[in-house]
């Protein structure tokens, strides 16, 4: 264990020392600089960061230290020295030696640092600027020429380096190595020439690179997207939550004159600590994309969409939904409040349980698994911290929930956490986690889960959302958890999925995890909502709803935030016959066929909350106030009103309060009927998942970010490469009867009967092109 963090599991040995004349008692292993913070004494520092290993690189935190009457001959760096009993520390507040040493270091650091604060992005929120004022000399004695460099150099498409500003604190390089496991930047050269740098052929394309900009204590690292855009004191900051995945990052959104200029990682030690991924940091321009819908639209008799007033559009939507048999599809990105709105709207206004949030590949086994084993259950990040064994099944954390990756990596690095993963090949992420890889063709996971042994009640099994694509695998994972006592958590990709389950936006559940099939649960909700009845039948799933629309069993659809191509290549077939009410932010293939379009607010434009994969609430406030754009729940409430079947959720706060007042179901859960998968066979089985940075529509509009995406490749085995006569980098064509994808190949330890491609990259969209997600046969040839 490093000296930075003290485990809560062990009985702490406490140490008492004196700092500036005050006694303070802290756990053994605490650094002097932290102990001083406890007293409210701030020692100036640059390289010190509570989440990074101590390094003592900048020397700014020098203090005078005496132990049991013996004085250190020279001032010491308080960020590297752990406390000792009987230690007497004198900081700049009580020691002239410490104060002079600090001022000397500050002057030294400023010798080569430019005085370009007025044009530097960091100016106004810069630790160097601030501490030069608080702990430095007013005047410099340096009258030579400062170093200059060509500025800036791009160490990636997104991260820029102004070398003359760097004070060599090594925060960025330590972050990259210790936290992200991506030492793509290092301190190069030596002495006066030392600089942060990359290998010239390999840019700093880490998924977590943006954090280095945030922790740079000077303006040496800046982001291409924010550079020269604003002064910190002109920004209005709003606490936010990230809408991109289910990791649940705490965020801060900075807005200047109604425009989002940047988003930063917030500080939540329970969840994202102080980090986030580059997607969360930089992918926010989708909200200002030019295909944004700003006014309601109605399809006229001419078949074209026409702008309409809100009352007219609401009335048309209400009329269409009233006279028809309707179903609801709500994408996995709804907030808890919005999902609750859809859930209540389906039951009260449409009198149906035909609602499903799963706008992606999904199965009945998955629905039953979520209904029985996931809803209402909390497994937290801290379980990973304490785990004796972490098992990943159908889940690539670095791509699919990056903060889960960071947490696992931290434990692997600090205490050698044992990680096992069932995956098609050894990914870079698995390598970083030093994971034992149980290789499996996509679809065959259920056959291999039983190979995992030795789990205890301290073990954690994390299953990915896409594991449902492998029939029987969720059942096998649940059985493994039940027989071993290990904790089991399901990690969806989208931020709204967990909240949607709890809110009952699925055919088997009412809000609060109440089974539709349970009469007491229905009575609960009936009385809370003041309605006479709640439909008793189990609602249709997304695919059943689509079938119903095609066959005419369902003839109208309320849809919010769904991309049909996430579900299947044919999802749009049949929809044109139906009356479609679409609550959307931007034009899409759904709005092309919708009868009524109602514009909704983006995350930064509304308040609400998500439940992350843990089931933890992540609330956020409105950062950009756009008067005409409303949260989905408000619009649903207005439609219901027009239909004469009010759901009475006029505001996000009303929805949140009502949902909270329902409480969680404490009765029996619906029993889970295990599915049993069989071994699949085939010469060439497709495996795929979505890369963190890909063609996802929420990444639209941010070119710099897109340019740091990992390259799209087709992963094939050595055997196959030999058979095809290709070497790494040569193009191969992956195809079936529907279409083909051509990508450069990469030869890895994948099983020879498998091929892996990205699911939704610009050059590789499996559902749209091949009509499949994974687990089906394809052919691979040399292109």
């Amino acid at each position: 264990m490093s000296t930075q963090e003290v485990s809560a599991d062990v009985t702490l040995e406490l140490i008492t020392l004196t700092i500036d004349g005050f006694e303070v008692t802290v756990p053994k292993g605490t650094l002097v600089i932290r102990a001083a913070e406890k007293l409210g004494i701030q020692i100036p520092r640059f390289c010190d960061h509570p989440l990074l290993d101590p390094v003592g690189a900048c020397r700014q935190c020098l203090v005078d230290i005496e132990i049991n009457g013996r004085k250190f001959p020279k001032p010491q760096a308080s960020c590297t020295i752990p406390v000792e009993t009987g230690m007497v520390v004198n900081t700049q507040l009580t020691s002239n030696v410490a104060e002079k040493a600090q001022k000397g270091i500050m002057e030294f650091l400023l010798v080569n640092h430019p005085l370009d604060c007025p044009v530097c992005d960091k100016g106004g929120e810069c630790p160097l600027q601030n501490q030069a004022m608080s702990n430095g000399n007013g005047e410099s004695r340096f009258d030579g020429y400062k170093r200059t460099f060509e500025k800036p150099i791009k160490i990636s498409a997104q991260v820029l380096l102004d070398r003359e500003r760097c004070i060599l604190c090594a925060r960025c390089t330590r972050f990259s190595e210790e936290i992200a496991g991506d030492p793509f930047i290092t301190l190069n050269d030596r002495g006066a020439l030392q600089q942060v740098g990359i290998y010239e052929e390999k840019p700093f394309d880490s998924y977590f690179s943006g954090n280095t900009i945030q922790i740079c204590p000077v303006g040496a690292l800046t982001g291409a997207s924010y550079r020269f855009r604003a002064r910190p004191f002109d920004l209005v900051s709003t606490p936010s939550a990230c809408e991109h995945c289910a990791s649940g990052c705490d965020m801060r959104t900075d807005v200047r004159r109604g425009k989002t200029l940047r988003r930063l990682a917030g500080d939540d030690s329970q969840v994202n600590e102080e980090w986030n991924c580059d997607k969360g940091r930089w992918a926010f321009k989708y909200a200002t994309a030019n295909n944004r819908i700003k006014t309601p639209m109605i399809r006229g008799a001419d078949g074209e969409l026409h702008e309409a007033s809100w009352p007219e559009a609401l009335a048309t939507a209400a009329a269409g939904l009233s006279v028809n048999r309707a179903a609801v599809l709500v994408g996995g990105r709804a907030t808890v409040e919005d999902a609750y709105g859809y859930s209540k709207f389906a039951r009260v206004a449409l009198n149906t349980n035909d609602i499903d949030f799963r706008s992606r590949v999904h199965t009945d086994e998955e629905r039953d698994f979520l209904t029985s084993a996931i809803v209402g259950v909390q497994v937290n990040y801290s379980a990973i911290d304490r785990a004796d064994h972490l098992v990943l099944i159908g889940f690539e954390p670095e791509d699919e929930s990056p903060i889960v990756f960071l947490r696992a990596y931290k434990q692997v690095r600090k205490r050698g956490l044992k990680v096992t993963t069932i995956a098609p090949f050894t990914t870079r992420g698995s390598k970083k986690l030093n994971a034992q890889v149980i290789k499996s063709a996509a679809g065959n996971e259920s056959q291999l889960i039983s190979k995992i042994s030795g789990l205890t009640s301290k073990s954690v099994i994390l299953v990915g959302e896409r594991l449902c694509e492998s029939y029987g695998a969720l059942s096998a994972a649940l059985k493994l958890a039940q027989t071993s006592g290990a904790k089991l958590a399901w990690i969806p990709r989208r931020a709204g999925e967990r909240g949607a389950i709890e809110a009952g936006a699925i055919g088997t559940l009412l809000p609060g995890g109440r089974p539709v099939s349970d009469v007491a649960a229905r009575v609960d909700i009936q009385s809370a909502w003041g309605v006479k009845s709640i439909p008793e039948n189990i609602g249709r799933t997304t695919s059943e709803i689509l079938v119903g629309l095609q066959s005419g069993d369902i003839d109208s659809l309320l849809v919010g935030g769904v991309d049909p191509l996430d579900i299947s290549a044919d999802a749009l077939v049949g929809l044109e016959k139906a009356f479609v009410v679409s609550l959307e932010m931007r034009h899409s293939s759904i709005t092309e066929i919708a009868n009524v379009i109602l514009p909704i607010a983006a995350v930064v434009e509304k308040s609400g909350s998500f439940l992350d994969w843990e089931g933890r609430a992540r609330a956020f406030e409105t950062a950009v106030d756009v008067p005409d754009l409303r949260s989905d729940v408000r619009i649903l409430s207005m439609i219901a009103e027009k239909m004469g079947k009010p759901i009475n959720l006029p505001t996000v706060a009303a929805a949140a309060n009502e949902f909270a007042s329902l409480g969680n179901w404490d009765g029996a859960r619906a029993p889970f009927i295990a599915a049993s998968g069989t071994a699949i066979s085939g010469d060439t089985i497709l495996a795929s998942w979505r890369l963190l940075l890909d063609a996802g529509s929420l990444q639209d509009g941010e070119v710099n970010l897109a340019n740091t995406a990992h390259p799209s490749v087709a992963v094939i085995s050595t055997d196959r490469a030999e058979k095809l006569g290709v070497k790494s980098g040569d193009p191969v064509r992956v195809s079936n009867s529907r279409g083909e994808i051509t990508l450069p190949c990469e030869i890895k330890d994948i099983e020879s009967n498998s091929v892996w491609v990205p699911r939704n990259s610009h050059t590789s969209k499996t559902i749209a092109t091949l009509g499949i997600a994974s687990g089906a046969s394809v052919s691979v040839v040399k292109a």
Partner: protein, 208 residues
């Protein structure tokens, strides 16, 4: 130039000397210089892959040590010590003299590729100051003239034997191989600790 199977045999034998493979980075970089004369990008990528390091981590080491070159040097790399003792004993004059004589700047090679020149930091031979090194072999107690004679002899293909070290001056690549730990069988040749080096010991033994 792609790495051959023979190259990989050498690389693996170097890696196998160490309990943790990343420890092999420095000899492997010398081996890369023995192969190509300097550290190529291809070498950096190969070493990174063999040692499970990122290429940036390899660059950090390459750029830290001035003994590793990212550009070709001469067949005989001549270093003139310009640290304090050598400098006052004539090192600065030797460096200036060679620069003018060869018509090249610091860290550059002559057009024939025979000789390159570098101002080097202390080489732990102050007892023979001022020293000049060719491919890290010592030429002791130099003067401007003797240093000029040395590079002339090198360029004409008859380098004199080092004052201390092997009987024949190895080329840059040959000595890079030695630094990589590949013996040339000449470790026993020549003087190692000469009289000035042992003078202090002798005086202390005599009780003076």
């Amino acid at each position: 130039m792609p790495f051959t199977n023979e190259d990989f045999t050498v690389i693996d034998s170097i890696i196998n000397r160490y309990p943790r493979k990343r420890s092999a980075i420095m000899p492997l970089l010398h081996f890369a210089q023995a192969r190509d004369g300097y550290v190529t990008n291809e070498s950096i990528e190969t070493i990174a892959e063999k040692l499970d390091l990122e290429t940036a981590e390899v660059i950090a080491v390459v750029s830290f040590y001035t003994q590793y070159k990212r550009e070709p040097v001469g067949e005989y790399h001549v270093g003139v010590c310009i640290n304090t003792l050598c400098a006052v004993m004539g090192g600065d004059a030797i460096y200036e003299g060679l620069k003018e004589h060869l018509g090249i700047e610091n860290n550059c090679a002559t057009k024939d590729g025979k000789v390159s020149l570098e101002r080097i930091e202390c080489n732990a031979a102050c007892d023979y100051a001022p020293v000049v090194m060719a491919n890290w072999e010592f030429y002791d107690n130099q003067t401007v003239q003797s240093a000029k004679d040395l590079v002339d002899a090198i360029r004409s293909g008859n380098p004199p034997a080092p004052t201390r070290g092997p009987d024949k001056l190895p080329t840059w690549r040959e000595n890079s191989a030695v630094l990589a730990g590949i013996s040339d069988g000449r470790a026993g040749e020549g003087v190692s600790a000469g009289e000035p080096s042992l003078l202090g010991l002798k005086l202390s033994k005599e009780g003076k």
